[in-house]
């Protein structure tokens, strides 16, 4: 939608199965979240279910979201600064794909990729900063890192070009029907992804009346004029976390690592967990007992 259409449309509520209207084969898709937090996993699973292919994925700090999309064969290309399972090890599908030469990669330093998304939202074709001098990225990607001089001080600065994804996918706590989004915990650079992308799809734990957002407008991080579609999907970040609502699911992450260890067993993972509805998924990962435990863990924290 054009910005005008996003402003005019006050009812953006849709179902997961509607995402095919906005994500097409071959699109560049920026995936929200960071580390093992707040990734739009229900949307990731739906992309796989919908059989959308040849995506040019973009992530700042990716994890199981990227690994799953790569393992399911949805990605042709990946722009990233980091793809990690942290304590669980290296991302198995990502590793295999790159080591076998089955995935084209654009590896970029972490600050640069954030600044590239940010530039688009600010309406500038580039932004300067103090870049990663001495890194091989500079030799490898002269199209992405350009040395410029400050016109006032003469200092050498690094210029980064604006990055413009077709679609951004994000998961957050709360939205209204018009698409204003509240984020309470780990926000990554989801706001900058939303500003940079032509189309923005957000799943949320709950859709609420706008007056609920007005009660604490300080939590509203993405206003409605950036958003095309909102979908209510509780535990839409699982197995990653959405603090303070729930923690990540270490049991399922270990299960994932086991089953992603080989292409064959990963096929089974997709069948058992992904190629079914989100309701069935939540049952498969342990149902209410498990989701309640993850909520409880998010509350039962010990400050010193």
């Amino acid at each position: 939608m054009s910005t005008r259409d996003k402003v005019l449309n006050q009812n953006k509520v849709a179902k997961l199965t509607d995402i095919g209207k906005l994500i097409k084969d071959g699109d560049s898709v920026a995936v929200g979240g960071a580390w093992l937090s707040s990734h739009p996993m229900a949307l990731v699973r739906q992309i796989i279910r919908s059989g959308i292919k040849n995506l040019h994925l973009m992530t700042i700090l990716g994890s199981v979201d990227i690994d799953m999309l790569v393992g399911a064969g949805c990605a042709e290309r990946l722009m990233f600064s980091f793809v990690s399972m942290e304590a669980y090890g290296l991302p198995p599908n990502f590793r295999r794909a790159v080591e076998k030469g089955n995935l084209k990669i654009d590896e970029i330093s972490g600050l640069a990729i954030i600044i590239g998304f940010e530039a688009t939202g600010r309406g500038v074709p580039f932004l300067p900063y103090r870049g990663p001098s001495g890194s091989d990225f500079l030799k490898q990607r002269p199209d992405f890192y350009k040395q410029i001089k400050c016109p006032f001080t003469g200092e050498d600065m690094m210029a980064i070009p604006a990055i413009k994804p077709d679609v951004a996918i994000i998961h957050a706590q709360r939205a209204d029907a018009a698409g204003s989004i509240q984020i309470e915990g780990t926000a990554g650079s989801d706001l900058e992804l939303a500003k940079a992308a032509k189309k923005v799809i957000v799943t949320v734990e709950e859709i609420v009346p706008t007056d609920v957002l007005r009660e604490n407008p300080f939590k509203t991080k993405i206003p409605r004029f950036y958003v095309d579609m909102v979908i209510e999907q509780p535990f839409g970040a699982h197995p990653t976390s959405l603090v303070p609502s729930y923690v990540g699911d270490p049991w399922h992450m270990m299960k994932y690592m086991e089953m992603a260890a080989s292409p064959e067993s990963f096929k089974n993972y997709l069948e058992q967990y992904v190629m079914k509805s989100e309701d069935e998924y939540l049952e498969a990962i342990g149902g209410l007992k498990q989701t309640n435990l993850l909520k409880k863990l998010a509350r039962e924290v010990k400050s010193l």
Partner: protein
């Protein structure tokens, strides 16, 4: 009776050595989750550096919290005084006021202080594809102190020349850093065997200290690049009894710190055992 402990693990030795690098008043970032680094930060905050300001996830000025595998992110977030997203963090802290130290590990590091988090082997057809650098390419250069930590000191990690330079300190000596408009600060590697430091371009890493029970030869024989060895290399200061007590009773009661020091195969079982204890403690 000595204030120092003789009952500590190699992991606890490294954790305390990292914590000692944190000075009160430092600005720190808790980035990608590595239990040892997180434990070191919190240990510093509850002992000698109560006023440090760290940002964890989107939580600015987070309080000290107990490290558990289930709750570390929620705990760091709950204690925060403000919320910033990653974009606000990099401009305000990394590039603005400046961060003092952020311990970083890598797949390879060489004698020039080049760090590789990208690939082992050829970049295009790697034998091992790593996670990538996240903010490391910028951070290694920009932060006041560069602190690398390596749970397993060996020639596969400390190599003559890295296969790919994901990031590097760029300017090392204080004079060179000042000339380049960077804050001067040391460059140190803390491993399971020793503390290495590099003070100047062109000059090799020096063995600053070896951990108790480790010999200089152990260090030299396990390092793939040239080392400067003084006539008598001091022993790394041991953890104090107080530090070990606080570690085990308050900051890291489940022994998360040991995690980084385990072979990959043993990790899942260890995580499961930690989780079981946590759940029991919650009465679930």
């Amino acid at each position: 009776m000595s204030k120092y402990s003789d009952d500590y693990s190699p992991a606890e030795m490294v954790c305390v050595a990292v914590a000692r690098e944190i000075e009160d008043g430092d600005i720190l970032i808790l980035g990608s989750f590595t239990p040892l680094a997180f434990v070191s930060y919190v240990l510093a905050k509850v002992t000698h550096a109560p006023n440090i300001m760290y940002m964890a996830y989107s939580s600015v000025d987070a309080g000290p919290f107990q490290l558990t595998f289930g709750t570390y992110e929620a705990a760091a977030t709950k204690g925060g005084v403000a919320r910033w997203n990653m974009t606000e963090c990099i401009h305000s802290l990394y590039l603005g006021v400046g961060v003092d130290v952020e311990p970083i590990s890598s797949i390879q590091i060489d004698g020039n202080g080049n760090m590789n988090l990208s690939v082992v082997g050829d970049y295009q057809k790697p034998m091992l594809r790593g996670p990538g650098g996240a903010g490391a390419p910028e951070v290694v250069k920009l932060h006041r102190k560069m602190l690398g930590y390596f749970p397993s000191h060996n020639k596969r990690t400390l190599v003559p020349k890295v296969d790919f330079i994901t990031g590097t300190r760029w300017k090392i000596s204080n004079q060179e850093r000042l000339k380049a408009g960077l804050r001067p600060g040391p460059m140190k590697l803390i491993t399971n065997l020793a503390v290495l430091t590099k003070e100047e371009e062109g000059r090799p890493f020096r063995i600053a200290s070896v951990h108790p029970g480790i010999t200089v030869n152990d260090v030299v024989n396990n390092t793939g690049f040239e080392l400067e060895v003084a006539k008598d290399v001091p022993e790394t200061e041991k953890p104090t009894k107080e530090q070990i007590r606080i570690l085990r009773e308050q900051v890291d009661p489940y022994g998360m710190v040991a995690f980084d020091f385990m072979p990959g195969k043993e990790r899942p079982a260890y995580l499961k055992s930690i989780l079981e204890k946590e759940i029991k403690a919650l009465g679930c």
